[in-house]
């Protein structure tokens, strides 16, 4: 099955987010993230330039990623729009994420 979100797996795993991450498609992202559990993942990079909207279901998948894939795993949010980073901050998730304009390996 082709992945809708994850486009690179490995120590640095990369995920593309676009459109809306809501209650309808957050479970699909969750399923893909589960494939990273038990893998040796140092960094998870969410490319969020084209992400228009994130719901609480979407925020929960990020908490899930951090808790289940590894609390030592660093999570990056790249080029996220302000309307997305606003709710990340309101949720206190900015404490666990690196919100950046670009990702440099």
């Amino acid at each position: 099955m082709s992945e809708k979100f994850i486009f690179q797996t490995g120590k640095i795993s990369k995920i593309n987010l676009s459109g809306k991450l809501d209650a309808v498609n957050a479970p699909l992202l969750m399923e893909e993230l589960k494939s990273l559990i038990g893998q040796d993942v140092d960094k998870i990079v969410f490319y969020a330039k084209d992400l228009e909207y994130i719901s609480s279901a979407g925020l929960r998948t990020i908490i899930f990623a951090k808790q289940k894939i590894g609390t030592e795993t660093s999570i990056y949010f790249i080029e996220a729009q302000e309307s997305v980073t606003d709710v990340i901050t309101m949720s206190g998730l900015d404490n666990f994420l690196y919100i950046q304009d670009s990702f440099d390996e």
Binding site: A23, E52, Y53, S55, L59, E82, M90, G92
Partner: protein, 134 residues
């Protein structure tokens, strides 16, 4: 005032959101605020869809009103099991990630986003009201 009654199933979420957000961008230029309103409404609706009706499918009635004074009013009415989301304990958003529960975040967010959130149980209905000054 606009009103719809629609079956509370996930397949209808997009239609519900369209009704709730219709023309909102004409009066609210702040995209971040529109997204926060969207998140708040989605949280309520997904909760009704997921938990209100145990065996038989049921409806959710949604009312939207925008007063001339710039007050946005939403009401969500279902005939499901009694549920007052305002009784939930707020998550500790400053807790370490290992200790973060995944429940309660959405309710916490809409309580932060809306100016007023009211719950009422009346005639076997859950009635949740949002008021937001814009």
């Amino acid at each position: 005032m606009d009103k719809i009654t629609i079956q509370a199933v996930l397949e209808n979420l997009d239609d519900m959101m369209e009704f709730l957000l219709n023309d909102l961008s004409k009066i609210i230029s702040n995209k971040s605020l529109i997204n926060q309103i969207r998140l708040s409404c989605e949280e309520v609706l997904v909760n009704v869809i997921s938990y209100a009706y145990l065996e038989e499918k049921g409806n959710v009635e949604i009312i939207r009103d925008l007063s001339e004074e710039g007050m946005l009013f939403y009401q969500f009415i279902d005939e499901g099991v009694p549920y007052n989301p305002l009784l939930n304990t707020d998550p500790d958003i400053n807790a370490p990630i290992e200790d973060r529960g995944i429940g309660g975040l959405g309710v916490y967010l809409y309580k932060s986003i809306m100016d007023e959130v009211k719950y009422e149980r009346k005639d076997n209905k859950n009635i949740l009201t949002f008021i937001k000054k814009i």
